[in-house]
């Protein structure tokens, strides 16, 4: 983990995480996960097996020198490095996460590159940082040519998806999601809080946080990875349930050897095999941030929705386990 002691105090942290189903027929075991996530020959992949199987790659850096997006058109150039890493949960869900933090001020000229490299994950503004405007700008996504942390997460995802371990036979079709976050300092004495969690268009989620001074940006990224993972699970299972056609229409024929499974069972089975055991909020969120989940459990109630979805999946499967001759009517949602 990068030490943060050497860098000036950060007043803004920002990141984006991309979450997708690993395109492989079988979930990866811990050895294969470590192989996939070995982005550097000389750094270990952290593999953990409690409370679930999880692998975390070393951080890699990308150099940037460009304007920061801002909501009021302020033109702030910034130079530094964005950190990015990849995580694999239960050998099944791949997340790539890019993040950086910004100090309140920086020198008004560019320094030798080696001086930025010893502060990994810090992007320094030229002069003063208009914090609020940049935070909003980052959440909204900038214009072309302004810092785009999502591209860095995407670049790492592309790199990992080229790994020869992957056979590109995903057990189900699913949509990748993006979660973009900013964290601003909490007011004196306040603890961390989620100010806003928004579901936007095009599978984009945005989160605005307040965190006390001294919370490491890697830990904030860890919290956001966890939020993104569970939001993706909800999104994906909802989509599967939306997709099972229960009406009279004839479904499209499926290529490949014809299974004798009813269509609904064929559609729900991958959720049972690959997704339902993944729900485990806060499994790896640092202690000081873990309680932020409480707000989301209250409203909208992430776990409540999940339990309802799981129940629906199980009910459907139970109904289809009854031989058709004993059913009075065809199962409906």
């Amino acid at each position: 983990m990068a030490p943060e002691g050497t860098a000036p105090r950060a007043v803004l942290a920002c990141g984006e995480v991309r979450t997708c189903l690993l395109p492989a027929g079988q979930a990866l075991d811990s050895r294969a996960a470590a192989q996939l996530l070995r982005l550097r020959a000389d750094e270990r992949v952290l593999v953990s097996e409690r409370p679930n199987l999880y692998g975390l790659s070393p951080d890699t850096l990308t150099g940037v020198d460009c304007r920061l997006p801002s909501s009021n058109g302020a033109r702030v150039r910034a130079v530094g490095t964005v950190a990015a890493r990849a995580a694999l949960t239960e050998g099944r869900v791949l997340q790539t996460s890019a993040y950086f933090r910004v100090p309140a001020t920086g020198p008004d000229h560019r320094r030798p590159w080696g001086q930025y490299l010893v502060r990994p994950g810090v992007v320094e503004p030229f002069g003063r940082l208009p914090r609020e405007a940049v935070a909003e700008g980052l959440l909204d996504g900038g214009r072309h040519g302004e810092l785009d942390v999502g591209l860095i997460a995407d670049g790492m995802q592309t790199r990992l998806l080229r790994h020869p371990l992957l056979d590109h036979r995903p057990p189900l079709r699913s949509r990748p999601t993006r979660l973009r976050w900013v964290a601003l300092p909490a007011r004196d004495g306040d603890g961390p809080s989620i100010e806003r969690f928004t579901l936007a268009e095009d599978a984009l989620r945005t989160v605005r946080l307040r965190v006390p001074e001294g919370v490491r940006s890697a830990d904030i990224a860890g919290l956001c990875d966890d939020l993104a993972l569970h939001d993706w699970l909800l999104t994906t299972v909802v989509r599967i349930l939306d997709g099972i056609r229960l009406g009279p229409g004839e479904p499209w024929p499926r290529p490949g050897p014809a299974g004798d499974l009813p269509v609904v069972v064929g559609a729900l089975r991958p959720a049972v095999d690959h997704l339902l055991h993944l729900w485990m909020p806060r499994a790896r969120v640092s202690g000081e941030l873990a309680h932020l989940w409480a707000a989301l459990e209250e409203r909208p109630g992430f776990t409540r929705q999940w339990l309802t979805l799981v129940q629906r999946v199980r009910d459907q499967l139970a109904l289809h386990a009854i031989p058709p001759s004993y059913r009075e009517v065809e199962p409906r949602p």
């Binding site: 990068a2 020959a41 000389d42 750094e43 953990s48 409690r50 560019r110 080696g114 010893v118």
Partner: protein, 321 residues
């Protein structure tokens, strides 16, 4: 904070620390052509080096703030690009010539240890730590197709491409050094080349950059120190270079091999190589935990240390080849 009751060792990073001197002083590199020029060449080299060694020692003493600085000396022999002589023949000769000039060689290193050390692919791992200096306008997009095996200190001159139909060919544009002050000194460094049979040959500047990281105590492989010094026991040296450890401690009372800063005393002909080394070091993200350990230790000892790794390296070039 981590749960203190339950731990998983594979889930926690761990980085070995290494002992550190104030200064790692390099007394020279030896290549085949130096050896072939006869013992007179070595003698002249050590004679030319001696006054600069004195200067480097006294500068280190000044920086150490009155206290007695820990200084270790080292010498690098090329066994990577060409194999010549035998340790049993060369090492005693080298030590004798150094001794004649009043110099002690504390540590002897083989250059191939900077490429691969045992099973550790040192050079490849370091190459994986290059973070290219972004030219202005880098916003997170993929950098323009990197030249595989090359590293520059700026933006290359655009390659002359066949323009698309009905478009005019672009005029020549100069390369630019990203950190230029008004005018550029553009340098493009070859990091390695591949032989027709697929063997990767690391370039001299790249191995020299790895050598500098080792001397700065910043090389790690999965948390373990790389290039650990092996004490020299017994009197004889082996006949085969492969039987000599990559780094040998010749002087049992020597200060630690790695140091906060390095200084190398070299003839002028190494100037371009060492410029290239600086370009490489300036774009390497070294192991963050190793960097933190060194920073913490130096702070405890009240030794001021430049933040940038490249700035911890210094040279004394003497006239001659």
């Amino acid at each position: 904070m981590k749960d203190v009751v339950f731990r998983e060792t594979t889930a926690e990073p761990r980085t070995q620390s290494v002992p550190l001197s104030h200064l790692s002083l390099e007394l020279g590199h030896l290549y085949m052509e130096d050896f072939e020029a006869g013992p007179g060449r070595l003698r002249r080299h050590f004679e030319a080096v001696r006054p600069w060694v004195e200067a480097a020692r006294s500068a280190a003493a000044d920086r150490a703030g009155g206290g007695r600085p820990r200084i270790s000396t080292c010498f690098l022999v090329d066994d990577y690009f060409t194999r010549f002589s035998r340790p049993a023949e060369l090492v005693p000769l080298l030590l004798a010539e150094a001794g004649r000039a009043g110099l002690t060689v504390d540590y002897l290193a083989r250059e191939s240890g900077c490429a691969v050390n045992g099973k550790v692919p040192v050079a490849e791992a370091v190459a994986g730590r290059i973070v290219e200096e972004p030219p202005p306008g880098s916003y997170g997009n993929r950098p323009p197709a990197a030249q595989t095996g090359w590293l520059a200190n700026g933006v290359r001159s655009p390659a002359a491409r066949t323009p698309q139909a009905m478009q005019r060919a672009a005029a020549w544009q100069p390369p630019t050094e990203t950190a230029a002050r008004r005018h550029s000194v553009f340098l493009d460094v070859e990091l390695f080349s591949d032989t027709p049979d697929g063997q990767r040959v690391w370039s001299c500047p790249f191995l020299a950059a790895v050598w500098q990281l080792a001397r700065l105590g910043l090389l790690r492989h999965q948390g373990d120190a790389v290039l650990d010094p092996h004490p020299h026991t017994g009197s004889a040296f082996p006949d085969d270079w492969d039987e000599l450890p990559a780094l040998v401690r010749l002087n049992p009372r020597a200060a630690p091999f790695a140091a906060y800063r390095t200084c190398s005393v070299l003839p002028n002909r190494f100037l371009p190589v060492e410029h290239a080394v600086r370009v490489i070091l300036d774009q390497l993200e070294v192991d963050a935990e190793a960097l933190r350990q060194v920073g913490e230790r130096s702070a405890r000892e009240n030794v001021s240390l430049p933040a940038s790794v490249a700035d911890r390296v210094s040279y004394l070039f003497y006239a001659g080849s």
